[in-house]
């Protein structure tokens, strides 16, 4: 909490800086603020930023670097008799010293040498903290004084402040990139370890998925193969079924709402459809597994078809219901943005409403609709809970919607929450699957974006 307190001090100084800067600018203008380059508040902001920004940056940097230095110094100064021999021992001893210092649990009885190291650690820590405090406050004060000295009638405070804020805006927009980098980084290392055990091409093009490897020495796996093609095929099959449900219903609903419905109907129908997307997927999962699947099975049996109890059809249909709003909302927007002039032209030629829609509006809106469909597809591919509950785990390579299939997301969940050991190829496979999933949706999105953009240029 001490660094938190320091942060509060810096913020307090910044607030003081704001007041000082503002007062100074008013003084410089001898009360007539019109002759200043910027408004007084900008001078205040400038001084506040000049005081706070470097100090906070220093604080952050110090907090990251200090532990490394202190730990290195402590470990280097250890009694030679207990000097750790290898990296594992080193980190273990370090954790012990750190835990001892903070009154935490330790892995073994502390020897006098360790206690000495701990005391050294504590004293270094406190020296470090006080130096940091002094340095940060100094920098803050220096920044305050310097920034305040800059304030004059002609100083362009607004430009400086706006530039700093613009940098802040850019940083914010970079968070999206950082997230992507984070996702890739968090997946790639484990994936690489997986590919060290299972060849990359065997994973990507193998047609047999059965992650029953020997997960421990005394166990022998069945086929133990990691060919992910059945998973991709299963995902595609379920997605296809979902799109067959959501595509027509969603698109027709969108057309009706955009072209036929009166505002009152629309005001009720649109939010109602959006609620479908808001229902937790766990609920859909139960619905699929316990209501739809037995229903389909019963129908199948009554006409003599052999339906698996966890058929792809059940999961697909329910997933289709869930993504209806994705298709309908996005398509609705696209259809609405088709210029009225096109419609008027078509009506003027005597076409009926449905003819206008089919021959004029849909072709004009097609790229946007395709974009909406692709987004819905990537949503369907990534959906987890429905398939976990309703689709089962049987990795069949089949195009028959009445058979059971499994999907990539199902396998990720089951591989990660199971009882197996954690360094097995099985657990690692989950990360490789996650990586594949990420790149597939990335590809779909790039395509969707291209399509949508092409369309936008045409009618804006």
């Amino acid at each position: 909490m001490n660094s938190f307190f320091l942060l509060l001090v810096v913020i307090g100084l910044s607030v003081a800086g704001y007041a000082a800067g503002r007062a100074r600018s008013v003084l410089a203008a001898s009360g007539d603020v019109r002759i200043l380059h910027s408004l007084p508040s900008y001078y205040g902001m400038f001084v506040a930023l000049g005081c706070g920004l470097p100090a906070i940056l220093l604080l952050a940097l110090w907090l990251i670097i200090q532990p490394q230095i202190v730990e290195h110094m402590v470990m280097a100064g250890l009694d030679p008799s207990i000097m750790p021999q290898n990296a594992d021992e080193y980190s273990l001893m370090l954790t012990d010293i750190r835990n001892l210092a903070s009154g935490n649990a330790v892995s073994r009885e502390a020897s006098p040498a360790i206690m000495a190291a701990m005391e050294r650690y504590q004293s270094l820590q406190s020296v470090g903290f006080w130096t940091m405090g002094a340095a940060v406050v100094c920098i803050a004060l220096l920044g305050l004084v310097w920034a305040r000295s800059q304030v004059s009638r002609s100083f362009r405070a607004r430009n400086v402040v706006e530039n700093i804020i613009r940098v802040l805006l850019i940083v914010c927009s970079m968070i999206a990139i950082l997230t992507t980098v984070g996702i890739v980084l968090s997946l790639i290392f484990e994936s690489l370890r997986f590919f060290a055990r299972v060849p990359f091409f065997e994973f990507l093009f193998g047609i047999h998925w059965s992650p029953q490897t020997a997960i421990r020495a005394e166990q022998v796996g069945a086929s133990g193969s990691f060919g992910a093609v059945p998973l991709f095929a299963g995902t595609m099959l379920i997605t296809l079924i979902a799109m067959l449900v959501a595509g027509p219903i969603g698109l027709l609903s969108a057309i009706y709402m955009a072209e036929y419905a009166n505002p009152k109907f629309r005001a009720i129908a649109k939010p109602m459809l959006e609620i479908l997307a808001g229902i937790p997927t766990v609920v859909y999962g139960f619905f699929a597994a316990l209501t739809v699947a037995p229903l389909i099975r019963g129908w199948g049996e009554s006409i003599g078809l052999d339906v698996a109890s966890e058929s792809a059809l059940a999961a697909g249909v329910v997933m289709g219901i869930m993504i209806i709003p994705f298709v309908s909302s996005l398509s609705d927007d696209v259809i609405n943005s088709v210029p009225q002039s096109l419609r008027d032209g078509s009506y003027g030629l005597g076409a009926t409403k449905s003819e206008t829609i089919r021959h004029v509006i849909i072709p004009a809106a097609l790229p946007g609709i395709v974009g909406a469909f692709l987004l819905a597809v990537s949503r369907a591919i990534g959906e987890t809970m429905i398939v976990v509950m309703a689709a089962g785990l049987a990795a069949n390579l089949t195009a028959n919607p009445l058979e059971a299939v499994t999907t990539v997301t199902v396998q990720i969940v089951t591989l990660l929450v199971g009882d197996q050991e954690f360094d097995s190829a099985k657990t690692l496979a989950a990360f490789a699957l996650g990586l594949v999933l990420f790149f597939v949706t990335l590809g779909l999105n790039v395509i969707a974006l291209r399509v949508v953009r092409k369309y936008r240029e045409k009618y804006d």
Binding site: L169, C172, A176, T179, L187, S253, L276, G278, F287
Partner: protein, 438 residues
């Protein structure tokens, strides 16, 4: 008629006339009506599915809002509570209330003798009934030695019986409630000593292993804390990113890259965000597990693209004339945005934010990865306290063996849906109130 013109090629001399009696026209109008009907049918189909889904949830869940109580005569026997008669609060605190409850049950049903029957009898009321007695005695030590008629919460099996989930005509082996228990129940029922009340505990308790004690307040608090973090992080960052991309960014490869990235993140499977949270926040930064703070950060990353996209389209909808007017009056670009464009776009941005928040509220998969799938009895009081959220609570209850959790699962879903519908409703109202045509 118009068809004729549309279909005729310029060089053909023949002109198609409207068919006599307007048959073609009739056909076209029929097609028109059919098309319109298809549209209506799809909306109705979607609506029907919604009604069916919600209906089946309400159908199984409504009974969870009721709880059965039975009236028993309870003697606060001093022998159990305070044998020495000291009146020492510590003694009262640690007395054997479970034993007291059992003794009282035996006294209420003196006909029960066998060992296994007694065991059944002890399970007639909620295992927590003893703690209720404890709280009463601690609140009023004068109760010791007295006898009162008290309403005591029935156990989950008896509760199921009252609600009609137990079929009495089944053979004894096939039901959860034995004939002996039925007899005790009927005896109480005939004496008007059984009552169902509104289940307030469902709203004020946190999770419990006893269905009759389990409530959602812990999960709701966890959800609120998590959403608060999500909102605090994703709203400012999302709006600022949108402002940069929409108002300042030059059109080049770099901004294209950011845009593709954001659109992609909007569609990345939520479970991948869970993997990110696990690897980055828990393993790398060492944040505590199961904390709303971490859940909020993961969900913030997840909702960020939604907010950015919504905020961008809201900013885009503000007509350029406003910007030009402000610029013309000497405002700097940033002032244009902060003083004029942003306030005008705010309703749109808020709508997008609410929808993003609703998404985050219903999300389960990423939270499974960061340890929020946990049994937590204490209601979380801060951002680093262990907590769970509503959808995860639903997932946990759905996996519990006790039958009475089935209706509670549905009831929790109803609460979650109510929150979601409320949020969507606010978004719609906001959209309607501030919707502006330029």
């Amino acid at each position: 008629m118009t068809d004729a013109i549309m279909n005729s090629k310029p060089d053909t001399a023949e002109i198609r006339r409207p068919s006599p009696g307007g048959e073609r026209l009739k056909k076209r109008y029929a097609a028109e009506r059919r098309f319109r009907l298809y549209g209506l049918c799809s909306i109705l189909a979607a609506g029907l599915m919604l009604v069916f889904l919600v209906g089946s949830i309400v159908g199984t869940g409504w009974s969870a809002f009721l709880q059965t109580y039975v009236k028993l005569s309870i003697t606060f026997d001093a022998e159990y509570l305070d044998p020495a008669g000291t009146g020492d609060p510590a003694q009262l605190q640690n007395a054997d209330y479970g034993g007291l409850m059992k003794k009282n049950l035996r006294d209420n049903f003196p006909e029960v003798t066998g060992r296994s029957d007694k065991r059944k009898l002890y399970n007639f009321v909620s295992p927590n009934a003893g703690y209720v007695l404890r709280d009463m005695v601690i609140a009023d030590p004068a109760l010791v030695g007295k006898t009162l008629d008290l309403w005591v919460k029935a156990s989950d099996d008896i509760d199921m019986l009252t609600k009609g989930y137990v079929d009495r005509t089944e053979a004894e082996d096939n039901r959860r409630v034995s004939n002996a228990e039925l007899a005790w129940y009927d005896k109480l029922d005939n004496a008007d000593r059984v009552e169902t009340r509104f289940n307030t505990d469902f709203f004020v308790n946190a999770d419990s292993r006893e269905p009759e004690e389990a409530g959602i307040l812990g999960a709701v608090t966890g959800s609120l804390l998590t959403l608060l973090i999500t909102l605090l992080l994703s709203f400012p960052v999302g709006v600022m990113a949108a402002i940069y991309l929409e108002e300042f960014a030059p059109k080049n490869r770099w901004t294209d890259l950011i845009e593709v990235n954001i659109n992609n993140l909007a569609a990345v499977p939520s479970i991948v965000f869970g993997l990110l949270g696990l690897a980055m926040f828990l393993n790398f930064f060492g944040f505590p597990r199961s904390a709303p703070l971490v859940g909020g950060m993961v969900l913030a990353l997840m909702t960020l693209p939604t907010i950015i996209i919504a905020a961008r389209s809201a900013l885009k909808a503000v007509p350029p004339s406003i910007r030009e007017a402000a610029l013309g009056l000497g405002a700097s670009p940033l002032q244009v945005v902060t003083h004029h464009v942003l306030p005008l776009a705010m309703p749109g941005i808020l709508t997008g934010t609410i929808i993003g928040m609703a998404q985050a509220l219903g999300e389960t998969a990423p939270l499974l990865m960061i340890g929020m799938i946990a049994f937590i009895v204490d209601i979380p009081g801060g951002f680093t306290d262990p907590a769970t959220v509503l959808p995860v609570q639903i997932y946990l209850w759905a996996d519990s063996p006790e039958r009475a959790f089935v209706e509670r699962t549905s009831a929790a879903i109803m609460v979650l849906l109510a929150f979601l519908i409320f949020m969507n409703f606010v978004a719609v109202l906001l959209r309607r109130k501030f919707e502006r045509r330029w």
